[in-house]
């Protein structure tokens, strides 16, 4: 299945991977890291990046062995017709719900910072319409928007996460040999780390339209870079200010940055503005999942036509991201979603890659 007349370069695909890796569910990641690892919370990125590289390698193998096919083409052939269709249907559900899940987290973040009095439906509706608008143009436009926003997102996050250093004790990061590495194998850590390696999921569907060489190197670099930024964004302030400080707040980055006063600019607290960077990141992530859900759904039900499904999935996204879903249900949805990434986005592609690997030696 070729999802439309698109043409993505490897660099554009890498930027999509970068954003999806960067958009880690804050509460599941930060809370677990802080509670279990304390000042060494930054080390929790390592399992995620490692697992991500492993899954990315599987995607690279599949793309190399089956260059003009996406998962929608080879899954039924390699898994059998029923299992293949079931896998694709579950993948479609995962994508279709991904936008709503991510937007809901952002809406919660927005409420706790900028607009606590605004009804939750307003940001949910605005972001849903925006992401549906960009998803309507397809992955080529999503990739261009992602690239254009890079110049604002990356410097912004790097800047606001270096602010705590102005009021910090860098020596708290050392020494590295006292890191409790064994704690990283805990289930809660692993589940949270999965959120770091979700960036490669779109590549399963987009593989046939990505053109260019050095695929693995570029997308791996994007995934690792995003993981490092997460480390910089979340864990260093925690390490610097200490877990007791960060544990009191849901979004330690925001409040850690907010304690620094920019005396030479007319801005008192930067914490309010950091949510804007997450808005840009969530925008790309939600749009990508919206398009993926429509692409897979179109393949399943509409003979490859995916645009009519965008507004339908937009309604689903709005319902998931709006205030209808309570915090407990939201937590359950996100947990199921994260484990869905493990099963559908990691285990199965790795199995498929192993299945096609012997073909070269056989040839």
């Amino acid at each position: 299945m070729t999802p439309g007349p698109f043409r993505l370069s490897v660099a554009q695909a890498a930027w999509i991977v970068f954003y999806l890796t960067l958009c880690v569910t804050p509460f599941s990641f930060a809370e677990v890291m802080i509670q279990t690892m304390g000042r060494w919370a930054w080390a929790g990125v390592v399992p995620g990046a490692s697992l991500g590289l492993l899954a990315l390698g599987a995607v690279a193998v599949l793309r190399h062995r089956l260059p003009r096919s996406s998962v929608l083409d080879y899954a039924p052939q390699l898994l059998g017709r029923f299992a293949g269709w079931l896998y694709i249907a579950l993948l479609g559900l995962l994508f279709a719900s991904g936008a709503g899940a991510n937007l809901r987290v952002f809406v919660d973040m927005l409420h706790s910072t900028l607009n606590s009095s605004m009804s939750g439906w307003v940001p949910a509706l605005v972001m849903t319409v925006l992401t549906a608008y960009v998803a309507f143009f397809g992955p080529e436009v999503i990739a261009r928007v992602a690239t254009a926003l890079l110049l604002a997102v990356v410097p912004g996050i790097a800047l606001i996460t270096t602010l705590p250093w102005l009021n910090s004790v860098p020596g708290r990061l050392w020494p590295f040999w006292t890191v409790p590495w064994a704690d990283l194998t805990r289930q809660a850590h692993t589940a949270s780390a999965i959120g770091v390696c979700r960036g490669f999921l779109p590549l399963l569907v987009l593989a046939p339209v990505i053109q260019g060489d050095r695929f693995f190197r570029r997308t791996a670099a994007a995934q690792v870079a995003a993981s490092l930024l997460i480390m910089v964004a979340f864990a260093i302030p925690v390490a610097v200010f200490g877990p007791h400080f960060a544990a009191q707040f849901r979004f330690p980055l925001l409040d850690a940055a907010g304690t620094v006063s920019w005396s030479w600019l007319p801005i008192q607290r930067l914490g309010h503005l950091t949510v804007l960077f997450w808005q840009m990141i969530t925008f790309i992530v939600a749009a990508t999942y919206l398009w993926l859900g429509a692409a897979v759904g179109g393949w399943l039900f509409l003979h490859g036509r995916w645009r009519p499904l965008i507004p339908v999935l937009g309604v689903v996204t709005l319902l998931i991201s709006g205030p209808l879903i309570g915090p407990q249900l939201q937590k359950t949805v996100l947990t199921v979603w994260n484990w869905g990434v493990v099963a559908l986005g990691m285990a199965v592609p790795i199995a498929l890659a192993l299945a096609v690997l012997p073909r070269r030696s056989a040839a």
Partner: protein
């Protein structure tokens, strides 16, 4: 020819192929044949009808020799000097082949071709059997129009001060003066069923992107309309009627700009009767790069461009940002600044959002009125705007000083772009950003910018993404073509977004090693 009796052929008898040349006939057109009129003359006469400026003259002294022309289009002095006098002399000498008197004249093989030539200001000389028959077209068109003047919309302080005019031939001559290159090609098509305007597509064969010229020519040939009046109407046809306010073709009136664009691998489309050819493809950043090629050095260019980018950006974002910070999210502001801004709003009767919105509308009304009004009236309007809006409104506490400052900055920033058409897009897009900011504060402000970014990312000009080289990103081109520029000796690569067939412009090593006094190798 159908038998129409002694009344001669009527309008209903005109063949389908000539019908498009008859523009203004109502009812039945009665065309009376003349004695001994050759069939070709009769066919041409039927195509062009009975206009009073259409002259058909049988030349005495030679059987079957006729002159046909439109008196309003030909130069009367040249008519005698280049046609009448040589004809008289040739007939007196008994010249056997009168057609050889005009060796450069074009031969017309059909009545339709001859009629088109007459409509273009040529004289059709129809020969009788004694001279071999046939028809030739000799160009003695009168060229009404203005002389080459300095550009009006692209101000040049130091640099060439010649701009295109309405005459297509003059414009092509100006271009060839800048590009005396053997690879320069001009392909002319006619557009408009009735207007039949000439459109010239120019390019360099060894540089233009493969497939671009056929794309443009195909777009021109598919135009089905009576009349195209301006080059922007033409550009709309070529861009498939896109609804975006951002121009997808870059107009210019400078020959040096067109020459530079062609040498980068782009195509220039000239429209007869317009001094503004447009360049295809184009990107967002081409409307910000300076046409002041004489700016000394990359540092000055970078400074000028930074000002333009900043001004344009502020024109779009500043109204919404101020509304968001003052009305919904004042938290980021320092207490001193918040206090000062609050004081400016004491006594105002309405919130900042409607105040800002109304002020933007009023400023745009004044900008539009000033632009459309004749020179003297425009100056008076500017004074009225400054006095009434600027001073009296603030004094009457109808608007605050901050909103006035933002309105002025927005207005100036919108016109910092180097193309007038682009400023409209900037002025239009500040409204969605402003309204979203009014509804949802800083979150809405950024949502407006994301909407604008998506819109720009969805645009393409002749297959080139509008945001290139930002997205798709070409870091080197982004740095040395958008943000700044190379020094000329180091400017070795053509911008990659035009996909020129030869990406290398020059040999930078040779340019650096050669001193000013050396002769070029």
């Amino acid at each position: 020819m159908p038998n129409s009796g002694d009344r001669g052929p009527t309008y209903a008898d005109i063949a389908d192929g000539a019908a498009h040349l008859i523009g203004r006939c109502d009812g039945v057109l009665r065309v009376l044949p003349q004695a001994d009129e050759p069939a070709l003359v009769r066919q041409i006469r039927m195509q062009l009808g009975s206009s009073d400026d259409f002259q058909t003259q049988a030349v005495p002294g030679r059987t079957g020799l006729w002159l046909l022309y439109l008196a309003t289009l030909v130069d009367g002095e040249r008519l005698w000097a280049e046609i009448g006098s040589p004809l008289e002399e040739g007939i007196r000498r008994g010249e056997k082949d009168l057609g050889s008197l005009w060796p450069t004249a074009k031969r017309a093989s059909t009545a339709t071709e001859a009629a088109e030539g007459i409509l273009g200001g040529r004289v059709a000389i129809v020969f009788g059997p004694a001279d071999g028959g046939g028809c030739i077209l000799h160009d003695i068109a009168r060229q009404p129009g203005r002389a080459v003047q300095p550009p009006k919309t692209e101000e040049v302080i130091v640099g060439p001060k010649e701009a295109f005019v309405e005459s297509l031939d003059t414009n092509l001559a100006l271009l060839r003066g800048w590009l005396p290159d053997t690879t320069l090609r001009v392909e002319i098509v006619r557009v408009g069923r009735r207007g039949r305007a000439r459109i010239a597509v120019t390019y360099l064969t060894d540089l233009v992107r493969p497939g671009l010229v056929p794309l443009v020519l195909d777009g021109l040939r598919r135009i089905r309309t009576d009349f195209v009046r301006t080059d922007w109407q033409l550009a709309e046809y070529l861009t498939a009627g896109s609804l975006t306010p951002f121009p997808l073709a870059e107009p210019t009136e400078r020959p040096d700009k067109v020459a530079q664009a062609l040498s980068d691998g782009r195509v220039a489309v000239f429209f007869e009767h317009s001094p503004f050819p447009f360049l295809i493809p184009t990107t967002l950043f081409e409307f910000q790069t300076d046409s002041e090629a004489a700016l000394p050095g990359p540092a000055v260019t970078t400074f000028a461009r930074a000002l333009r980018y900043l001004g344009t950006f502020l024109a779009v974002v500043s109204p919404g940002l101020v509304v968001a910070l003052l009305s919904a999210n004042p938290g980021p502001l320092r207490p001193e600044l918040a206090h000062t801004l609050a004081l400016t709003r004491v006594g105002l009767p309405y919130p900042v959002f409607p105040e800002m919105f109304l002020m933007m509308i009023v400023v745009d009304i004044f900008n539009e009125a000033t632009a459309q009004a004749p020179g003297g009236v425009g100056n008076a309007l500017s004074i009225v705007g400054t006095l009434i809006i600027g001073q009296i409104s603030v004094r009457a506490r109808l608007v605050s000083e901050l909103v006035m400052i933002i309105a002025a900055a927005t207005s100036l920033g919108a016109f910092l772009t180097l193309r007038y058409q682009f400023s409209y897009a900037v002025r239009i897009w500040k409204y969605p950003v402003l309204m979203l900011s009014g509804v949802a504060g800083l979150f809405g402000w950024l949502a407006g910018l994301l909407l604008l970014t998506t819109h720009l990312a969805s645009l393409k000009s002749a297959g080139v993404p509008y945001l290139e080289p930002l997205a798709p990103m070409h870091p080197r081109s982004l740095l040395f073509h958008v943000a700044t520029r190379h020094s000329r000796p180091r400017d070795a690569q053509r911008p990659p977004m035009w996909e020129a067939a030869d990406p290398t412009r020059t040999d930078p090593k040779a340019s650096r090693e050669r001193s000013p006094g050396d002769a070029p190798s």
